[in-house]
């Protein structure tokens, strides 16, 4: 934007609208966007959680037990439930946006966007099923 404007009677002053600090509350879509961006913090938290878990397990039975007791504290539990909701939002919003970023051609034809989104969900379902199977059947 040209900030070096010389205003004269023949070049009257332009009116510049100020962006509100709370612009993200003006539309539901802006608010959802901010929630999606904030959900990155929840993803980072779970990465840190995984590292803490690995450290506790590698530290022996006592350290593992101490970690489990900390994890069962109501505040930590509430934090993890909230973060899980944010991670779900993160996954759904990004999977739905993936077709806009990815253009895939198979046999010279463009793959429809819904197949790209569906393949993301299928990969998530497969990975989740594999983790659940690992936990239940201790493969």
């Amino acid at each position: 934007m040209n900030q070096q404007v010389a205003y004269t009677p023949y070049h009257p002053r332009w009116h510049r609208q100020r962006i509100s600090t709370y612009w993200w509350l003006e539309r539901p879509s802006y608010f959802l966007f901010i929630l999606r961006e904030l959900s990155s913090l929840a993803v980072a938290w779970f990465v840190a959680w995984l590292l803490l878990l690995v450290r506790a397990v590698s530290g022996g039975a006592a350290a593992d037990q101490q970690f489990l007791e900390w994890a069962g504290h109501p505040l930590v539990l509430a934090l993890n439930v909230a973060c899980f909701a944010f991670v779900c939002l993160h996954a759904v919003t990004w999977f739905n946006l993936a077709p806009q970023a990815m253009v895939v051609h198979v046999a010279g034809r463009r793959v429809p966007g819904w197949i790209i989104a569906a393949s993301n969900y299928a990969a998530l379902a497969f990975t989740t099923a594999a983790v659940v199977a690992l936990l239940l059947f201790r493969w």
């Binding site: 962006i19 612009w23 539309r27 879509s29 806009q100 970023a101 463009r110």
Partner: protein
């Protein structure tokens, strides 16, 4: 249906006032009148000092973009009857300086458009005797969607990133750069990438996605930007893994 509807129009008269104000005008509301018809009625019959841009009245020229009840719209394609019983708030496009009433300053956008070189670039032009540059329907389909942009700037008005950081090159300019990158006759992708990979280029976009929602020609600028990011990231990886091949 009521035979009239109220247009609540933003007025800014720099010789008289420092801030914009609203004025109400009662206009006829036949089923086939659009907001632009209402504004033209005001100008012709009620207040000749009202200023706004328009030209083709059929969604081609991109001149008549304004905020209608806060949403960026082409006023030639927005029917009054859809907003009955009103009133309908008509304001200049958000995120641009207002020169007068509903007229915004275009210089910033025009400068950015030129920076991305939205024309076919050839490293070496072949002689005329070799004939035209040919293109198959499939090659046309690769970029056709992005070529539908009419430079109406509704996407800039909807983009909060552009509002917060006016240096951001913006959705339409990037979509038009992508239109030429995907054209098989073009050889200027690396020149455009130099401009778009700067801080104010594609990386300024955080994928709010409002540009795509308001686009009257279904160009999907958000997709153009994300595809550009993906391409830039792949180019970077190739540059690291195969430095000789990409140099």
């Amino acid at each position: 249906m009521s035979s009239h509807i109220t247009l609540r129009v933003a007025r800014y008269r720099p010789e008289e006032e420092a801030e914009s104000t609203f004025e109400d005008y009662e206009v006829p509301c036949p089923r086939d009148w659009v907001v632009l018809d209402g504004l033209n009625h005001v100008k012709d019959q009620i207040d000749g000092t009202l200023s706004f841009r328009w030209s083709c009245r059929m969604g081609i020229c991109g001149s008549c973009g304004m905020l209608v009840n806060g949403e960026p719209k082409l006023t030639c394609a927005t029917f009054l009857a859809d907003y009955a019983p009103g009133p309908i708030r008509v304001e200049p496009l958000r995120n641009f300086p207002v020169i007068r009433d509903l007229i915004v300053e275009l210089g910033d956008f025009m400068g950015k458009l030129t920076r991305v070189k939205p024309w076919i670039i050839r490293q070496v032009e072949k002689p005329l005797s070799d004939g035209e540059y040919r293109q198959t329907p499939e090659q046309l389909d690769e970029y056709k969607q992005f070529s539908m942009c009419i430079n109406c700037m509704l996407c800039y008005s909807a983009c909060p990133i552009y509002g917060l950081d006016p240096h951001f090159i913006g959705p339409a300019a990037i979509a038009l750069a992508q239109r030429y990158n995907l054209d098989n006759r073009d050889e200027g992708a690396s020149e455009r990438m130099r401009v778009l990979s700067e801080h104010d280029g594609i990386w300024g976009c955080t994928f709010v996605g409002e540009c795509t929602k308001v686009c009257p020609k279904h160009v999907d600028p958000a997709a153009a930007i994300q595809r550009y990011k993906l391409q830039a990231a792949l180019d970077w990886v190739k540059g690291v893994v195969l430095p000789r091949a990409t140099s």
